[in-house]
């Protein structure tokens, strides 16, 4: 076996390495890099970017502790990745569509979903997947890479109907690039030249499997070449760089220049600071020192420093923002804890109308619920 990619052996983090291909705006501290051009973004938008990233960080910490308290089931943390999530979503126009995975909590929120619906599926209720008409977000994708051809298809549908002012942004992980669906989706995107942007959140790990074990390609962005579309690598811990790259890709998706194809594959180079999910223990398979190198480039600190430097943020405003974030998250979990459902819901929405056979199954369950009490159904099976 080729041990060039030995599982777990890591050299210097890719984003820390001298890397001429990597788009960056901020240095590790948050100062604008000498040659960098800052994206065209108003102070108000910058504050929105900052507030949402701060909220995401707080949400993540709270969700992990709610899970420990038994108030949420398995949760996939996003610390380290929220800067990129928020920046890509804020680059979207309202009519654009978002295809998130189980980890893109902040991306969903930043494109219009409320926090309560982020909590509901984690509490076992599908209500959070009933996304309102005015929010263009698909329910999260859990089977890896399945969203890629679907996002392509939605973008295609818009194009076929002359609605190229609407772009589709599709998230995926580094692990997802190994699945057949990734290849098929990107290949179709190139062939049919659809207004779609694929954002690969390369957080260096797919549970315990390091990025090098997914592909012998040096970068993920270079895979775009094989599909005839553009591939861009961006520092995923630099929210301004991500915003710049995502905005440009979305603009090209809508209005390609002469000879340009609409789709783009963005490799957002990040690091999964935490566990894969609350059910995972990374100390089994990776070295903690690896994380430290990335922690130095924390997206929250970098955007904060930038805003202080620019005089957009001061300590009063910072604590005001922090207070309102904390309140928003606590209110959301409290509201989510009120969500209730009836066992009848098992048979609802399977089809538009409930078939007679399913009605019978529901009635049988209700007969038993009446005859015995509901407690009898929550006996632990094992």
């Amino acid at each position: 076996m080729n041990m060039k990619n030995e599982a777990g052996s890591k050299d210097v983090p890719a984003a820390v390495r001298e890397d001429s291909d990597l788009v960056q705006v901020l240095d590790a501290e948050g100062n604008v890099l000498p040659q960098a051009s800052v994206p065209d973004i108003s102070d108000r938008q910058l504050l929105e970017l900052y507030e949402t990233i701060k909220l995401a960080r707080h949400f993540d910490q709270r969700a992990i502790s709610f899970q420990r308290q038994g108030r949420l089931a398995t949760y996939a943390p996003m610390t380290g990745q929220e800067g990129s999530q928020v920046a890509t979503s804020l680059a979207l126009a309202e009519q654009d569509w978002l295809f998130p995975t189980y980890r893109e909590h902040a991306a969903k929120y930043a494109h219009g979903m409320d926090l309560v619906s982020l909590f509901e599926p984690l509490r076992g209720y599908r209500d959070g997947y009933a996304i309102p008409d005015d929010v263009n977000v698909m329910p999260e994708y859990i089977p890896i890479a399945t969203q890629v051809p679907q996002a392509m298809g939605m973008a295609w549908g818009h194009k076929l109907q002359g609605k190229t002012d609407t772009a589709v942004l599709c998230h995926l992980g580094d692990g997802a690039t190994s699945e057949g669906d990734f290849h098929e989706g990107l290949n179709f995107a190139g062939v049919f030249d659809v207004p779609a942007v694929f954002v690969c959140n390369n957080n260096q790990w797919a549970i315990s499997v390091p990025r090098e074990r997914q592909t012998a390609s040096e970068t993920i962005a270079e895979k775009a070449q094989a599909y005839g579309i553009d591939g861009v690598r961006v520092d995923g811990l630099d929210p301004l760089a991500v915003y710049k790259v995502a905005s440009a890709a979305l603009e090209k998706a809508r209005n390609p220049g002469p000879g340009e194809l609409r789709p783009t594959l963005i490799e957002s180079v990040q690091y999964r600071f935490g566990a894969h999910t609350t059910a995972d223990d990374p100390s089994v398979y990776r070295d903690e020192s690896e994380e430290e190198a990335w922690r130095d480039r924390d997206p929250v600190d970098r955007i904060e420093t930038y805003l202080y430097n620019e005089g957009i943020l001061d300590s009063d405003l910072e604590s005001e923002i922090q207070d309102s974030i904390e309140q928003e998250v606590s209110e959301a979990i409290e509201t989510a804890e009120q969500t209730e459902t009836s066992p009848d819901n098992i048979v609802e929405h399977v089809y538009e109308d409930v078939p007679a056979r399913l009605e019978e199954q529901r009635d049988e369950l209700n007969r038993l619920r009446e005859k015995y009490d509901d407690g009898a159904f929550s006996e632990v099976l094992e």
Binding site: M1, A7, A73, T74, I142, G180, V350, Q361, F377
Partner: protein, 338 residues
């Protein structure tokens, strides 16, 4: 862990959980036969998301316990190729709900390379996958879709319900010349311990187990549902004097028709318990088989106590979706009182 336990205790029995027995079974077979390799997502350094391959990477090295790229079609397709070279791949699918990318490789090739080549080629391989609900897992992690694979000629389908059987059935599956889908009931991965011999042994892939003898009704089940079925049987024996026979199929394909029908000939009544949706679940096959083989003995309609013909709900409702002891008891009484 049991790998060290088995080296330390030699021939002695160990008290293992079902998932530990699987780990021990892999350890035992890999120690005996160098051609056995484990491959899949997170099976190596991490030891599997449920620890089913714990310590195997340390013990057997990276050429025999292989972390692959995240690609089920790749894992199973590559395993079919590996098997052509005399190796015995034991690929893991991280959850049954994530097997579908590999479906084409399984049904179009693994299942039929033997018949396509008129016996010239075969695919000795064991695809392991945790399945079933009840652990408050996220969406797509709790399904029971064994019927998909039972429906496919050329595959064997196995599901243990005890630690002892898990190790023995896994060994028999690895030794089997044909592809086996080995479905592990993750609800009871750690539910209880029992004595599991450290030495190698097999549990036959052609015999169902009579878990409890009884004369009034036969309950057919497998995997995680075996326990609530046994609880229901015990409760009914005490509360209503109903004498329930519980048959754990163990191997779902091919079915042990003899044990199934012999029990029914004795009791004349049957209930089938499975987590999978009722329609075209394995219960349908068992009921029809009973009617074909033993109609004259039948004294009541055959009862199916199953999951709904609906997608598995998220976890707030999974207790209502899965057959609980209360549903099983009620179904048994209805059949006995008919």
């Amino acid at each position: 862990m049991s790998s060290t336990a088995s080296t330390q205790t030699g021939q002695n029995a160990q008290r293992l959980t079902l998932v530990e027995a699987i780990q021990d079974g892999l350890y035992t077979e890999m120690s005996r036969d160098d051609s056995v390799v484990v491959l899949g997502e997170d099976v190596g350094k991490n030891g599997g998301v449920f620890r089913a391959t714990d310590q195997l990477y340390e013990e057997f090295g990276e050429d025999r316990v292989i972390d692959t790229p995240l690609a089920e079609a790749g894992i199973v397709g590559a395993s079919i190729g590996l098997a052509q070279t005399g190796m015995k791949p034991v690929p893991e699918m991280q959850f049954m709900g994530f097997m579908y990318p590999a479906f084409d490789q399984i049904v179009s090739h693994a299942a039929r390379l033997r018949s396509r080549s008129q016996g010239q080629y075969s695919v000795p391989m064991v695809i392991r996958a945790p399945y079933g609900g009840g652990i408050r897992a996220p969406e797509h992690h709790s399904e029971s879709k064994e019927a998909f694979f039972v429906h496919e000629p050329g595959l064997k389908v196995v599901s243990p319900s005890t630690p002892y059987d898990a190790k023995g059935l896994l060994a028999a599956s690895i030794h089997d010349p044909d592809p086996v889908i080995f479905l592990e009931p993750k609800l009871i991965y750690r539910a209880f311990r029992e004595d599991v011999p450290a030495k190698p042994y097999e549990v036959s892939l052609s015999e169902a187990a009579v878990r409890r003898e009884g004369s009034d009704i036969s309950v057919y089940t497998w995997g995680a549902m075996t326990r609530p079925a046994l609880i229901a049987a015990e409760n009914l024996s005490q509360s209503h004097g109903i004498d329930v026979e519980v048959i754990d199929l163990r191997t779902l394909s091919p079915l042990d028709v003899e044990t199934i029908t012999n029990s029914f000939k004795k009791t004349g009544r049957a209930a089938i318990v499975h987590e999978a949706p009722k329609t075209v679940g394995l219960g349908a096959e068992i009921a029809t088989t009973i009617q074909e083989e033993a109609l004259v003995h039948q004294e009541a309609p055959i009862k199916r106590i199953a999951g709904f013909d609906a997608p598995m709900p998220l976890h707030s409702l999974e207790d209502y979706y899965l057959p609980q002891a209360v549903r099983i008891q009620d179904g048994i009484r209805e059949t006995v009182d008919f």
